[in-house]
Every structure is written in structure tokens, then in C-alpha cells.
Symmetry: C2
Subunit: 384 residues, 2 copies
């Protein structure tokens, strides 16, 4: 069992689901966890998960982060060989890898390496990412909790902005995919509710368009809350901001919201503030979705079932069954159909204008994030 | 009734307390609210608070922001004259002003102006500020909720940092006062828990000291979470950061955490990330303290009692009574003893080193923030 990539609020729930399912299965003699993900597997830092107090897992299941630790290490062919040697030495029959795009690529690589080496190893992936950009599943554990966080955050920061009006630029996680930008609108009930403008990284954003949008809303409402994704690029496909980190996936402005707020202040002569709750967005336990917690746990348990059934080279996927009420089931998708793909926000759900509601997305998202209540306002009966 | 300054998560609870107390008092014929604080009073935007549905106030009491709106306007002598004329025209007998330092200065100014003009007007202040820097009260409504937010935030971001180790610089609100920096440590149980380093704006911070502290903790734990206050100044008393706003109170770097993270990355060759949940820190309803909500409401009710008793020129203050359990009462402090003063974090509670615990502060704070549970970790029994 090992973790890869950035943690979420419910990654540990999947781990608890794995442990629970393994303890319930008499044929499983031992369950090991690699500390700090693949680093632990390559560095012989392996722990016995059956040695933990069984009562601990309920607490672990509700804690953010990763109880085992994680890693962003990129794997080489030599790494795969070393991993296989270690797994063989330990007598491991199957490996579960819980992570996002990079981790599913590694799972597929390990699956192929085992096949090539003639090793009898079953590799099963467990999906995880707040960005919701994994292919082959209706959604990924972690996304609904981060979505609930940003919907609540935009609502509350919007209440503040309504009380003391101005321009607020709020930076939302999600890299190249607008799933969390979309989720940031879930507490909206009408055009006066925040965010007033929502931008999707799937579309380049000329600064002049942003400034014109902000000015238009400000003239109308006297205040503006802007939701912008961390991976937003400008008209030339370049990141806004002076400090840019180029990762394997895409360039990211490290000071995006701040830069946009400063540029809007200069362009419009209206004070703009920025807000950037990034790491808290993926770790906040208080705003996690209970449905997400349950599904993450179920994905862990499903992975154990898959491994026992010999589903090597597959990832657990969440399927939304037809019917009036939300009803998920847990299936398996070939890693070949997941690895190296990025699932962006659907083109046909993208709004025509940044002020627009997202009714189809909303109907899709609320069953997994849970309802996000909005606040009531005074009628405000003037005495003159 | 009017609001001043930045909203908190419980400012509306004080408003609900005022309305509730006024509705219960048959001698009070009308209660008006000024929209957008003093702007509404100067601009004749006054609403009838008895015209609202009485059932609404329970909802309003739990909403962040300010249902009436607020303002940061600085008041001139001519403004006071106009305010008095409007209040006289409306037949207003007393005015309640709910806010922080600036608002209490305005309350005192209005009190003096009324005396000078021979007007029969009772001015009472209701304390409010997340920074907890108001004199004359044990603490201010709004502080405990923001404290609970930052304690939870540092705990959860710390769980993330433990899973994927590195340097994380988290910027905490509080201006020149370290009350919220101190509160950010409330989920700590030991030296391995975040924040590992906490800095107080009451002391200048040479960058070299910060870098040496961060490197020392990183060598020991392999990770570091730094809690730094938005108003932190460097060895020369200057703000860190390229973008600085000079307010009436103090200079503030708008990109403090980002700047420190970039400089630490350069100096130590270890990747550092920054996090800045500012507006959400003062508005997050989900992490507000229930004790704070109750006290804010009680402060509103106490202000009405004070006004009826002719306590003009006073501010409601929270007093902590002696005894084994926390037991507050609501008294009155002369505005003369509040206005223009800034209550910094007590010298004798400041830690000797940035790694140190704050036992005296902790005992003082937990009754108002509520307990902040920490997370359990695996024992981690290695198989080799």
C-alpha cells in the first residue's frame, strides 16, 4: 500500500478502507505500507499496518494529510527494477497505489515491468485528486471535499466583501482543470451572490477582458468577487505573475491572485485584495464532504476486492448509476485508459460568460459535495 | 446601530443581540441601523430593524460579514456635526457603535461632539476585532473565532506538510499584535506538531534569523511549518515584500508569506510554499467558536442595557471572573481608556525562542476558542 502526490482531506479514509477490508479477509496474512510513498519502497522504509491498534483507524480516517506519507518522485526504469526486487523479497502478491495522474502512470509502469519480468504481481490503482482530472471515473475521492471547501470559502469571503465592498480575487486550486473553479460557485443562488465572476483554466484569459468584466460588475453591484484557478493562463498562454514554477504538468504562477489584484488596482483605480487558501483547500477537515469520506473509504475496500480478484492493471473507478437519486458503484477501469490523460472540465458545461450559472454542473456536483447553504440578508426597509 | 471596520465571523451575532434586547424592552419604540456604517449615517441610508421578520435574526446571527454593511471611513469634525444633525432629526436617544480601534475613536469623538453641542445623546461602544488589540477588555468578540480558524488551519496544513515534507510559510492575521500568531499554535501538543516556528510582530525579525531557525528545524524534522503575522517587520522595522500598503495604523506587506517563501527557497535551496488565508480567516463560519458567538451576542445585549442606564462614553467590556472555570461578565470601560490605544501581546507571554510552547497563553485562550483536537499518527512499526 502506498500513496503518491499531494494529500487530500480524505486520502487517509481510503487507507482505512484498505486496512479494514484486509483485516476482514482471513486469507490476507500481512499488509505493509510504504513510508513517503515510493521513497519508502525504494528505501526499505516499510511498516506493518496490521501492527497498529485497530481502534486507531477511525481517527486516521478523519485526519487530513497522509498517515503513511507521500512523494512526488518521478520513477525511472531502474526504479521499477528495484521496486520489483523489494516486493519479491517481501513476498508481496499485490500492490495498491493511491494517487492521481502521476501515480497511475507509475502503477501502469510497475504493472508492465512486472509482466516483462515475469513477476506474479497484481497492481491496482486507487483514485485520488482534488483536481478531479483523472480519466475513467465519474469523479475522484478528494475532489468533493476540496469543492465543498472552496464553495464555503467563496460564500464566506463573499459575505465579507458584501459588508466592506471592493474587489476580491480568490485563487482556487485545480491546475489546468476548472472542476474546483466550478465548485467555487456552489453556494450561489443568484447574480448578487459570490463569486460574481468565475474563470476556467480551459480558456485563456486576456487581462483586458478580466479588467472589463470586473469593472462591469463593480459598476452594477459596487463589489466584485472573482474566482480564478491557480493554473489560469493569459491571452498568450503564459502564466500571470512574476514567480512561476514549471512542473512536469504545466507552468504555475506562484503569486497569481496577488498579481491580478495588483494589476486590477492599477488598471481600475479600485482597491483589490487577494486571497490564496491553497494547502488548506486540500487539507481542511472541518469542510470535508461526508459523502467523499465514505466514497474514499469504499474505494480502498474495492481495491482490496479487485486485488483478490486478480484485477491487475486496473484502477478503482466510481460509477454513477442511473436513477432519480445519487447511487454510486465501484468498478474497475484499465490503467491504460487513465495514465497520461487529463480530464478537463467538459466543454459543454463551460459557461458562455463568467457571470453565468452552471446548472448542469450543479446538479452533478451537489450529491457529492452536499448542499452548501447560503446566507440570508436583511430586507433593509429604509426609513426615508 | 452601526458597524465599523472589517467584519468578523460573529459581528452579526452582536447585531442580533442588540435587536433581541431592544425587542424585549417595551420602552424602545424604534431601532434603526445605518447601512455601510458611518457612510449610511452621513448619507441618510438608514433602515428600520424592527421591520425585519423577527425569525430572521437567528440566521443572521450565524452569518459572517455584516448584515448592515461596514465602513473604514475616517471621520472629520464636519462629519460629527452632520451625524449629530441627522441623529437629532431622527429623534435618536442613543447610538451603539460596534467595531475596533478606529470605531471606538469615532465613538469617543461623537460622544465629545454631542457634549460640546449640548445634545442629549448616549454613545455606547460594542467591541469587535479579530486582532484582539482593543484595550479595556479581557478579549474582543471575533478574536476567538479567528483564533480557532488559524489553529485549525495550521493543524491541517501541518498534516499536509508532514505527508509531503518541505517548508510551508503560513501568514496569519493580526496586524501589529501577535494574538492570532499565538492562537495558531493551539493545536500543538509537542515539538513535532505544527507550527514549528511562530513569530510575533511585537519583535522585529531579521531574515537571517528566520533562515537559520528554518534550517535548524528542517535538519531535525525534515519539514517546517512557519507561522508569521501579516504585520511582521524585518530587522530594520521595514515590511518584507515588494508590495506594501501603508495604512493609518502600520505598513503591511501584501505579499509577505510569498516573499518569505521565495527568499527561503533561494537561501536554503529547499522548496518553500506559502499560504495566505486572510479574508477567510476572519469570515469562516464553520470554524467559528460557539463561545465567541454567545459572547458577541451578549455584548450586543449588554450595550442596550448600558444605553438604557445612561452609560454614554463607555464600551462594553468582557471581564474574566476569578474561579476554576471560565466565567465571563459584561461590564463597561470608559472609551477614553480604549480609543487610540493598541493592546499588544503581553511581553511576559512572549516565548524565548520561536519553537517554544505558550502555556500561559494556552490556558487563557482555550476557554474562548474551545479545544482544538490534534490528529493521531501511526506508530509505524518497521518490518526491517
Amino acid at each position: 500500500m502506498l500513496h503518491g502526490g499531494g494529500p487530500t482531506a480524505v486520502l487517509n479514509a481510503s487507507l482505512a478502507g484498505v486496512v479494514e477490508a484486509c483485516r476482514a479477509e482471513p486469507s490476507i496474512a500481512a499488509l505493509y505500507g510504504a513510508e513517503r510513498g515510493v521513497e519508502g519502497l525504494l528505501g526499505d522504509a516499510i511498516v506493518d499496518l496490521f501492527a497498529e491498534d485497530p481502534g486507531l483507524w477511525e481517527d486516521i480516517a478523519r485526519a487530513p494529510g497522509s498517515a503513511l506519507g507521500s512523494s512526488r518522485r518521478r520513477i525511472t526504469d531502474a526504479d521499477y527494477e528495484q521496486m520489483l526486487a523489494t516486493l519479491d523479497r517481501l513476498g508481496v502478491a499485490w500492490v495498491l497505489l493511491n494517487g492521481g495522474n502521476g501515480t497511475m502512470e507509475m502503477a501502469l509502469g510497475l504493472h508492465h515491468a512486472a509482466r516483462t519480468a515475469g513477476a506474479n504481481l497484481t497492481v491496482v490503482g486507487i483514485p485520488k485528486t482534488i483536481d478531479n482530472d483523472l480519466a475513467g471515473t465519474d469523479h475522484t475521492p478528494g475532489y468533493a471535499s476540496a469543492g465543498r471547501f472552496f464553495a464555503s470559502c467563496l460564500r464566506d469571503v463573499g459575505a465579507d466583501n458584501r459588508a466592506l465592498p471592493g474587489i476580491t480575487v480568490l485563487e482556487v486550486l485545480g491546475r489546468n482543470a476548472g472542476w474546483l473553479a466550478a465548485a467555487s460557485t456552489l453556494a450561489r443562488r443568484g447574480p448578487e451572490d459570490p463569486p460574481h465572476l468565475t474563470y476556467f483554466p480551459e480558456r485563456p484569459l486576456p487581462f483586458d477582458s478580466l479588467a472589463a468584466d470586473v469593472e462591469r460588475v463593480y459598476r452594477k453591484l459596487g463589489r466584485v468577487v472573482v474566482s480564478v484557478c491557480e493554473g489560469q493562463l493569459d491571452a498568450n498562454g503564459e502564466p500571470f505573475g512574476a514567480d512561476v514554477r514549471v512542473s512536469s504538468r504545466a507552468p504555475l504562477a506562484l503569486n497569481l491572485a496577488h498579481t491580478l489584484a495588483q494589476r486590477l488596482t492599477s488598471a481600475l483605480k479600485i482597491p483589490a485584495r487577494s486571497e490564496k487558501p491553497g494547502l488548506f483547500g486540500r487539507s481542511c477537515a472541518a469542510l470535508a464532504s461526508e459523502t467523499d469520506r465514505i466514497e474514499a473509504r469504499n474505494c480502498g475496500a474495492a481495491a482490496v476486492r479487485g486485488a483478490l480478484a486478480g484485477r491487475g492493471g486496473y484502477m478503482v473507478s466510481i460509477q454513477r448509476n442511473p436513477g432519480l437519486s445519487y447511487n454510486p458503484s465501484y468498478n474497475f477501469t484499465p490503467l491504460e485508459d487513465v495514465a497520461g490523460r487529463e480530464r478537463l472540465f467538459p466543454e459543454h458545461w463551460l459557461p458562455a460568460a463568467p457571470e453565468d450559472d452552471l446548472p448542469a454542473f450543479r446538479a452533478w456536483a451537489l450529491p457529492i459535495t452536499g448542499e452548501i447553504p447560503s446566507y440570508k440578508n436583511l430586507r433593509g426597509v429604509r426609513i426615508f
